[in-house]
């Protein structure tokens, strides 16, 4: 990844235009040719630097539901609990964190009712209490990780 690649990543985190020739428009801002931008973007996707290039949807507006949840997994059962939780298709992310509440995961379901059903099933299968921390409010963050 060179300086131009970094500029491309930074520029495309700000948003991609919705118009007939969007790559040409972005390329002009970066002083590249359209073809150069396209070739470099393809390379960044192929080599895995970028996961995806496209839309990010608002799950709630799509009718779905999300929550952040956590459990206190005992050390000796940690791997077992990880396997149980990860086996749920409703679990989108799962992170180990340094705390007594040591496993934090996101549950995403097609309907709001399924959140509680999933939590109940996880509690039943793990025997642990699931802490449910749905968002009350999301503060707008202009997210950008400088490449």
């Amino acid at each position: 990844m060179d300086e131009i690649d970094k500029q491309i990543i930074n520029a495309l985190q700000d948003g991609f235009p919705i118009c007939d020739a969007p790559y040409r428009q972005v390329a002009a801002q970066l002083r590249l040719t359209e073809q150069e931008l396209i070739d470099r973007l393809k390379a960044l996707l192929d080599n895995g630097t970028l996961t995806r290039f496209g839309p990010l949807y608002n799950a709630e507006q799509m009718g779905g539901a999300l929550t952040l949840a956590a459990v206190k997994a005992p050390k000796q059962r940690f791997d077992e609990i990880t396997d149980i939780i990860n086996a749920f298709p409703e679990v989108a992310h799962n992170y180990a964190r340094s705390h007594e509440l040591n496993m934090w995961f996101v549950i995403a379901t097609e309907t709001p009712e399924q959140i509680q059903q999933t939590i109940n099933a996880i509690e039943q299968q793990t025997g642990l209490t699931v802490y449910n921390m749905p968002k009350n409010k999301e503060y707008f963050v202009n997210l950008k990780l400088e490449a």
Binding site: L41, L101, E138
Partner: protein, 180 residues
């Protein structure tokens, strides 16, 4: 309720936009829609907020962001809005949420900082605490140790044609930054 043609469009672009000169024309061919209609519909979906962002989704580890901290505070209800608004203005803050307190987890304000290393994150946090006046509140910092699971967006169509097809964006929370 999402219109059928919008839904069709969202389904086609969910895994990514074509990387070619006229990407929206190419999507239009797949959806049997003129390019102008694709552009109009996507512009509206973005304005409505159903499309939160259009752009690159980076693997932050690949960019050298290896330290990921979730910081939580217990702040008074009457200050939370103001504090959340202030925190979210810092460029190193990647997410900021208000969540309900729990019996054994009395925190209601959450933010994430993704940084290149732990010491950078801690110094950014210090800066945040000073600037926002957070030092008097109970706080915990939870660094992530491992990521067990991380999956991309999926589109699920209900089995019955008459049931609404459902779009589930499985990229919540740490949506745009993946691969911890």
């Amino acid at each position: 309720m999402i219109e059928a043609r919008d839904r069709q469009l969202l389904e086609h672009i969910q895994l990514g936009l074509p990387v070619c000169s006229r990407p929206y024309a190419e999507i239009g061919q797949l959806c049997d829609m003129p390019e102008t209609e694709v552009i109009e519909r996507l512009t509206r979906l973005k304005q409505q907020g159903l499309i939160k962002r259009m752009g690159v989704i980076v693997k932050h580890r690949q960019l050298g962001y290896r330290a990921n901290a979730m910081i939580v505070w217990n702040v008074p209800d009457n200050l939370i809005k103001q504090l959340g608004g202030h925190i979210s203005r810092f460029s190193f803050v990647t997410l900021c949420y208000q969540r309900p307190k729990q019996p054994e987890w009395p925190y209601n304000l959450y933010c994430m900082i993704h940084g290149k290393d732990k010491s950078t994150v801690l110094s950014q946090l210090e800066q945040l605490i000073d600037a926002c006046g957070l030092s008097g509140f109970d706080q915990e910092i939870l660094f992530s140790n491992r990521c067990f699971k991380q999956r991309g967006a999926i589109y699920q169509r209900a089995a019955h044609a008459d049931v609404r097809a459902t779009l589930v964006a499985q990229q919540p929370e740490t949506a745009h930054i993946v691969g911890d």
